[in-house]
Assembly symmetry: C2
Homo-oligomer: 105 residues x 2
């Protein structure tokens, strides 16, 4: 899907790591939430509340998922899932465009 | 207005200056268009096609509008207008969150 229709978009950006990671929040009519974001090159650790499905729209990054000892490499497009209440690490090599879906179960 | 409702949001980001300036495109039912964007610190020159109204949601930057010799300083929130088919310069001091409205006349 190349665009989201009939959504509510929160105007103010979410800003993390001095602006090296930023996103906008998108609210859907069914009550679900996504963020569309940009990550600049760098190493980051994130924590989840809800389960998250991270769709990489464009970029190059390595992901260390919780409980894993090996990094997963995504070049171009990709997707990974992070459980709720967990931490994961990213090594972002180039400007990376992502869409994060929050799954409340 | 803190959020836009019933809009279409283009999923893919617009990326400029190696990701130091990024935005997302928002389409409104009346046919108008805005972008919500982030600028990291740096010096930039932009060109317009349509007339643009730049609303600064949060940030600190100086603006040199076309034909002007003096820079305008915006700290926090602010707004400036750029005519169509023109160039303007920005000196962005801190991470700056903006909303750009494109005015077709």
């Amino acid at each position: 899907m190349s665009q989201f229709e009939s959504v509510t978009l929160v105007k103010q950006a979410n800003v993390y790591f001095d602006g090296k990671v930023t996103s906008r929040t998108v609210l859907f009519a069914d009550g679900t939430k996504k963020t569309l974001g940009i990550m600049l090159p760098g190493d980051y650790e994130f924590g989840t509340d809800a389960k998250e499905i991270m769709e990489i729209l464009a970029g190059d990054l390595k992901v260390l998922l919780p409980g894993e000892s090996e990094w997963t490499h995504i070049q171009g497009k990709g997707e990974f899932t992070v459980p709720g209440n967990a931490k994961f690490k990213l090594q972002v090599a180039v400007v990376t465009d992502y869409c994060c879906s929050y799954i409340t179960e």
